[in-house]
């Protein structure tokens, strides 16, 4: 198998329940795990990009370099932040939760109309002052 990986940069601003909330445009099918709001699977024209091998499509938070505050939610079901799917339509899924009682976290996954594009938007609402809050997304497409 051969894998291609491209990156580009641009600019932009942004904004149901047991196993997975599914959205699709026909070619692209995306499952979001209800119990933690992480991507469970992205299938494009029948090919699963994340689950072969060691599945990785995770996101997480940490305060500065304090590894004790590291929390992440994963394709494999880890729910360190404490999130769940809170809403969905045919082309979007919203998950919400709270990180360490300090920051409300909202993730919105959307299929962009007319394109095979998944847009992922994360909003962090600080309940208290937080310095050096680190947000990360990581993925290992196969």
């Amino acid at each position: 198998m051969r894998k291609y990986f491209l990156t580009l940069a641009a600019t932009l601003l942004a904004a149901s329940s047991v196993n997975a909330a599914v959205m699709t445009n026909g070619s692209l099918v995306v499952d979001i795990t209800n119990s933690n709001g992480a991507i469970d699977a992205v299938v494009f024209q029948g090919n699963d990009f994340y689950n072969p091998g060691s599945p990785v499509s995770d996101f997480g938070l940490q305060i500065g370099t304090d590894t004790g505050s590291f929390r992440f939610n994963t394709t494999t079901g880890v729910d360190g932040i404490g999130m769940a799917v809170t809403g969905s339509t045919a082309t979007s899924v919203t998950a919400s939760g709270t990180y360490l009682g300090q920051v409300n976290v909202t993730r919105v996954y959307e299929l962009v109309a007319g394109l095979n594009v998944l847009k992922v938007t994360t909003t962090l609402d600080a309940l208290v002052g937080v310095s050096d809050l680190r947000l990360f997304d990581t993925a290992d497409p196969e």
């Binding site: 198998m1 051969r2 291609y4 990986f5 491209l6 990156t7 580009l8 940069a9 641009a10 600019t11 932009l12 601003l13 942004a14 904004a15 070619s27 692209l28 992205v42 494009f44 024209q45 090919n47 990009f49 060691s54 990785v56 995770d58 997480g60 940490q62 370099t65 304090d66 590894t67 004790g68 590291f70 992440f72 994963t74 920051v103 962009v112 394109l115 095979n116 594009v117 998944l118 847009k119 992922v120 938007t121 994360t122 909003t123 962090l124 609402d125 600080a126 309940l127 002052g129 937080v130 310095s131 050096d132 809050l133 680190r134 947000l135 990360f136 997304d137 990581t138 993925a139 290992d140």
Partner: protein, 122 residues
């Protein structure tokens, strides 16, 4: 990448992780501990330019927020049957995506990173 407003965005990086120790100390694919996250942030990003047999993607942002302040981050994943198709999907999306003005207090823009994935050949 673009940041706007008063939110402290000291670090906004993106890059690759590899199965060949692309980051300090053998990073491995994914970020599953705070120590690996620290290594990722301290590395400043890394692009193997195809030099590794297996690669992953990581995006990191760092903010300092006051109580009641919020920040939003978006990125996009584009898919296609081949590299060009995936790239075109992303470019079509990027060209149509407006860059709104910061609206109310504490609502600010952070950058968008697009990642295109071409369908695997089986």
């Amino acid at each position: 990448m673009q940041a706007a407003g008063s939110v402290n965005t000291d670090t906004t990086i993106w890059g690759f992780v590899t199965d060949s120790g692309g980051f300090s100390g053998g990073f491995g694919l994914g970020i599953n501990t705070g120590f690996k996250l620290n290594a990722f942030f301290s590395s400043g990003g890394f692009d193997p330019n195809g030099g590794f047999s297996d690669i992953g993607m990581a995006i990191g942002n760092e903010f300092s927020l006051s109580a009641g302040q919020s920040v939003t981050v978006s990125y996009a994943q584009a898919y296609g049957d081949n590299v060009l198709e995936a790239e075109n999907e992303f470019l079509a999306y990027a060209s149509s995506a407006a860059v709104p003005e910061p609206t109310s207090l504490g609502i600010w823009a952070i950058g968008l990173v697009g990642v295109g994935f071409a369908r695997r050949r089986r």
